[in-house]
């Protein structure tokens, strides 16, 4: 019985990721940022695309666009089909997570820069980041949602080896790290689209009167 309640307590967290919206938006962001970096790389010397403040503004606009899109998708689709949930404020948890993340990431980055010379460094950074993203995806979008579907494991595999494979094939391309980032974005986006499509197939917009039943 206690296990049953624990499972029900966790369900709202799972519900937050049930529709694939977050995956799609992370994928969109991961594709847009490398594209922007690529444009800046190939733009001629002195071009407006190489003006750093502009890139920062575009990044900010992208972020706002993603947050607004998320809100709209949730309001217009998810809340109408399977209901609305407001989560408990977990700012302190988030801050602790960010501090721990920084405390771990900083020495790792310093070690990587000191231990490996430039030609090896890029390869190792791509490998480490792809493994980290694959772990992040496995934790949040498989373990947390408990949606053990075959395509998700294929996505994990592509995340773990995809960027490194791209590096091995196109190692001499000028902005190889942006290309590897785009592979990661494509993985998130494809996974999100499959999840979203399957969510739309499984659910239907609720009747208006369903909401107003308690006396």
């Amino acid at each position: 019985m206690t296990d049953l309640t624990a499972d029900y307590i966790k369900r709202p967290v799972r519900y937050n990721l049930i529709d694939g919206v977050d995956e799609m938006l992370i994928g969109f962001l991961f594709l847009a940022l490398p594209l922007l970096a690529h444009v800046a790389n190939v733009a001629p010397e002195g071009s407006v695309w190489q003006w750093r403040p502009l890139l920062l503004i575009i990044n900010g606009v992208l972020l706002v666009l993603i947050l607004v899109s998320r809100k709209l998708l949730k309001q217009l689709i998810t809340f109408r089909r399977t209901g609305y949930v407001k989560y408990r404020d977990s700012k302190i948890k988030g801050m602790i997570g960010a501090i721990v993340g920084l405390a771990v990431a900083t020495p790792v980055m310093v070690a990587i820069y000191r231990l490996w010379p430039p030609p090896q460094r890029e390869r190792h950074l791509i490998l480490i980041s792809s493994l980290l993203w694959a772990a992040f995806y496995t934790y949040f979008f498989i373990y947390k949602t408990e949606m053990y579907r075959t395509y998700r494991y294929v996505v994990v595999l592509l995340m773990a080896i995809g960027p490194l494979a791209v590096y091995s094939i196109f190692g001499n391309v000028r902005d190889i790290s942006t290309l590897s980032g785009a592979v990661m974005g494509a993985c998130f986006l494809i996974s999100g689209v499959i999840t979203f499509w399957s969510y739309l197939r499984r659910t239907h917009p609720a009747d208006a009167e369903i909401e107003d039943e308690t006396k």
Binding site: M1, T2, L4, T5, Y8, I9, K10, R11, P12, V13, Y15, Q75, F79, T82, G83, Y84, V85, K86, Y87, R88, D89, A206, A208, E209, I210, E211, D212, E213, T214, K215
Partner: protein, 100 residues
């Protein structure tokens, strides 16, 4: 009455009913949720869910707010402070009762 029996005997009967237990557990993890979400997660029909919610509201464990989302009526539900306390206590007692 030994310790185990005492723990089990003290369990709150309102929360102990499986349907209401599901509702309380779902609301325990969130700030608030609407009627449709609870219906989706519990698989109960409107009438059953409504009657369980009324019982929980009577006991002072759930707060019900009627509002509108655009033009569509929406019923928002949240565990009250007492509801949270009773649910946490229930889990603790049940765990102790079953472990001994």
């Amino acid at each position: 009455m030994n310790e185990t029996t005492r723990h089990l005997a003290e369990i709150d009967r309102v929360i102990h009913e499986p349907g209401r237990l599901m509702i309380a557990a779902l609301l325990f993890g969130v700030e608030e949720a609407d009627f449709l979400y609870l219906q989706h997660e519990t698989g109960m029909n409107k009438g059953t869910l409504s009657s369980h919610l009324s019982r929980l509201e009577e006991a002072g464990y759930v707060e019900i707010t009627k509002t509108y989302r655009g033009k569509i009526p929406q019923t928002l539900l949240r565990l009250s402070k007492a509801g949270r306390q009773v649910f946490a206590e229930y889990r603790k007692k049940l765990k102790k009762g079953l472990q001994m």
